[in-house]
Amino acid sequence: MQTIGVVGMEGAMGSFELFAIDFLQALMAGLMVGGTYALMCVGLGMIFGVMRVVNFAQGDFLMLGMYGAFYVATTLGVLALLGPYAGPVVAGLLAGPIVFVIAWLLHRFLIGRVTGVAALGAEGEGHYAQIILTLGIALVLQNGGLILFGSLPLSIPTPMSRESWEIWEILVNQARTVRFAVAILVAALLYLFLSRTRLGKSMRAAADNPQAALYMGIDVDRCHRTAFALGCAITGIAGGLIASSQSFQPYIGFDFVITMYAGVVLGGLGSILGAFWGGMTIGLVQQMSTLVLPFQLQNTAIFVVFLLIVFLRPHGMFGRSVERT
């Protein structure tokens, strides 16, 4: 087709162009993936921000969201009703309330007993009780999930996860883009909730100063319960949305726990906005790391970033000092 010289030059330019495309591709993927991670992290960030609880079971609420969405889509027929494009998204959103109820009940009967007002006066081992309790809950949820749902990997069938739009030469995965949009929407709604509604403000007040909140007549325990359930529900929605892009099984939760914590810590423990940006950044790190690292090590890149943040700047980007004295 071309003479050698021109092929040579085109070849040389081609490789830079190829790299640029790879770079932009990774960047785009990072943003889109980041959107979903951001949503997950916002859920976790909310729980930590309001309750100061390290929730090990967060990944398992993600998993519950996936299964919730799956059952809504298939057994409840939402997929059949709304078609393969709107169906999975709606199913994902509907997973939210399901997870909300489960989380609410768990807090009411288990977690609330060792956190919140009950733990205000606890010294030393007191606050480890919360973390360890959530570890127990995580184990029960994971393995209970195995019993209930079986180990066969599932996924919500939809063509969206395979189809991409093409912008210039960059492929933008449709499902991821939709998730990104939903993530932004949910995050925006949460922001409005926290900054405009009375309940949202009282939750922030309870997080800032539980004692003073009590003096205002705010039911601090109920705030914590709502925050916990809401945080889990948001993460559940993220899971519900991912359910159409990848196959999942009951143990999948733990794959995401460190990702979520990395995002929340990066953004600054205690800041929900920070959790959002932290999640985005983690998504970017993960995808961009494939440019230089082998594919299987992308999660290790996250861990390395996580450890670096924890050591060098534990307050993260937006964090306030949240250490218990």
Binding site: K201, R204, A205, D208, N209, Q211, M216, G217, R320
Partner: protein, 235 residues
């Protein structure tokens, strides 16, 4: 309005309040003074419900408060302006005041309360959108008092409002408190370390020392009595 009878509070083996009896009548300004560790903050905590007494009773408008959980008490009209201000640092000034109006009574009278508060403390109007954590000590104290007023209370309890404030700022705060009492007939229970300031405007005063009431009377009698000085300076 508030009848505290033989109240006893203990933290572990530590007797913080020992058969304390205090009465606050409607529309009165009552001051409780005493040196550090006398039990003043414990008294407030018992009234607010964050600490359970082991003996005695607290009657508010005739009802025994023991049956009322802490989160409910503000809804009865008891506003507690805590020691050390305790504002919500990441919420704005306006949002802090909104939190004060969390009760039903507060919400009903929100517009009027807000006007009153901003009139009393104009600097809060200036800083209404600022995060409360960025305010100075004096401004935070004003905010805390405003927050207490926002609940449209029947009883306003102030715990050491002068603590950590420069004397001139503390003076201004006391003036405002007096103003609130005078102009609106609000019942005020004030606990303070600064005896003279506290006793100046009160109708009735009590002196607490190591958990016991050692003296009570009008502000004239207390100011003139050497025992008050002894309670503080030990001589």
């Amino acid at each position: 309005m508030l009848q505290i009878a033989s109240l006893e509070v203990a933290y572990g083996g530590l007797r913080a309040l020992d058969r304390v009896s205090i009465a606050v009548g409607q529309g009165q300004f009552v001051a409780v003074v005493g040196p550090n560790g006398a039990g003043k903050t414990t008294l407030f905590r018992a009234i607010s419900g964050t600490v359970r007494p082991v003996g005695g009773s607290i009657l508010y408008e005739g009802n025994d408060l023991a049956a009322v959980p802490a989160a409910q008490r503000p809804h009865l009209g008891i506003a507690h302006v805590p020691e050390g201000r305790q504002v919500f640092p990441s919420l704005s000034v306006l949002e802090n005041l909104e939190m004060g109006a969390y009760t039903a009574a507060g919400r009903a009278r929100w517009q009027q309360s807000l006007e009153l508060i901003l009139h009393l403390f104009p600097v809060l109007a200036e800083r209404r959108r600022q995060a409360a954590g960025t305010l100075s000590g004096g401004e935070q104290q004003m905010l805390a008092i405003g927050r207490g007023l926002a609940s449209a209370p029947k009883l306003l309890m102030l715990d050491e409002p002068s603590m950590g404030l420069a004397p001139t700022v503390a003076d201004m705060i006391f003036e405002r408190i007096e103003q609130i009492h005078r102009d609106h007939g609000l019942t005020v229970l004030l606990v303070e370390q600064r005896v003279a300031e506290a006793l100046e405007s009160c109708d009735l005063g009590y002196v607490l020392e190591t958990g016991r009431v050692v003296m009570q009377g009008t502000h004239e009698t207390l100011m003139a009595d050497q025992r008050v000085k002894t309670a503080y300076l030990g001589l």
